[in-house]
Assembly symmetry: C2
Homo-oligomer: 217 residues x 2
């Protein structure tokens, strides 16, 4: 076999593999989407492999074929939940410093919408699982780092005091999580949302007060 | 029976009832203490009435006698967990404005000690139950108000901007909860504690920067 023939062979093997895999991936991604919706509707505490296969109308053999096992499926569902927020993070990175307050409140309003409650609840259930078994759920905390880095790049652009950049970024994310938890665990009324939102707004006000004056809106 | 005799009768009935009730209350309070320790050791997710009676070495009839039912016992355990933090809240109210940073960090260090982790974990498990069933667990959120009021009285003493007092107090509590959650759901190392602590410290720095200058340390 000449070098060119070998390359052709490789290429066609690759393209067959890709076609087969594209079909597999498409079916898998449809199942994953449905499995994620199912988890969000019942909550993490009530989720089971059997319940999931029943809800999706497929056998557990089919789930095994695409996801290998319960743990792998659950991991992929959690990963797919996590990815849902990422487009918002990209928006964050584009933001101008003088829009920081506006954007932070828009972010709050999107995330605290009642339609997002199932996702939020599943996330907190996931944190509580991670509390009891941090090794198994270590990716949960790793993915927080993406958000912390996103906030950091905004604060950096705004010339926030350099020594406090890392702390302030972590502060924003976990204040948001804490206030969001207070909303989810409360009576879910607009008044509860307003109270949590105004506390979040107060944090942003405190941060903006640290921006050098030329950078303020 | 004269009015005086009637009063005497009432008084002695009362004192018998009190004696009986003191004995009852003493036994109940010992059981409650043990039941609380049991819940902290297994976590809320793994807690059961049967497991609790077995761990305490008493029959479920005995538990029924003192606590009426599983739900009443659980409610009393949660109330007893909540009361554990209250002495700390009283310390808070005594604090001088120029000790605010010092006290906040001491508070963090006490609460984030590894010995407190079981209490913290049970609290977050409780919040996630409240998320799914806010009416049943409405007292969980009501008790947060005590803490918010405590912080408010400190910020008020420090002449924190009046319009933002309520928001800032809520901000402190839920930032603390959020950062504490990040610690519990992480790898529980000292490095994770340091990161969460420095974010909490940054919030306190931002708040102190709002105190009128004469009030600062």
């Amino acid at each position: 076999m000449t070098e060119d023939q070998f390359k052709d062979e490789l290429q066609s093997a690759g393209s067959v593999a890709t076609k087969k895999s594209a079909h597999f991936n498409q079916a898998k991604s449809r199942l994953l989407e449905a499995a994620t919706e199912y988890l969000l509707s019942v909550g993490l505490a009530n989720w089971s492999y059997r319940g999931c296969s029943r809800a999706l109308g497929v056998s557990s053999n089919t789930l095994n074929y695409y996801f290998k096992s319960k743990d792998f499926l659950l991991a992929e569902i959690l990963e797919s939940m996590r990815r849902r927020d990422l487009p918002l993070l990209d928006t964050f990175k584009e933001v101008e410093t003088d829009q920081f307050m506006e954007l932070a409140l828009a972010f709050w309003d999107v995330m605290s919408d009642v339609k997002q409650f199932p996702l939020g609840m599943a996330q907190f259930e996931l944190y509580t699982l991670a509390m009891r078994d941090p090794d198994k759920y270590s990716t949960v905390m790793e993915s927080e780092q993406l958000w912390i880095d996103g906030i950091k790049s905004i604060l950096e652009k705004a010339n926030y005091p350099e020594d406090e950049l890392a702390s302030a970024s972590r502060l924003v994310i976990w204040t948001y999580r804490g206030l969001y938890l207070s909303l989810l665990a409360s009576d879910h009324t607009q008044a509860s949302n307003d109270r949590a939102r105004s506390a979040f707004k107060e944090l942003i006000r405190l941060l903006v007060a640290q921006f050098p004056k030329t950078k303020r809106a």
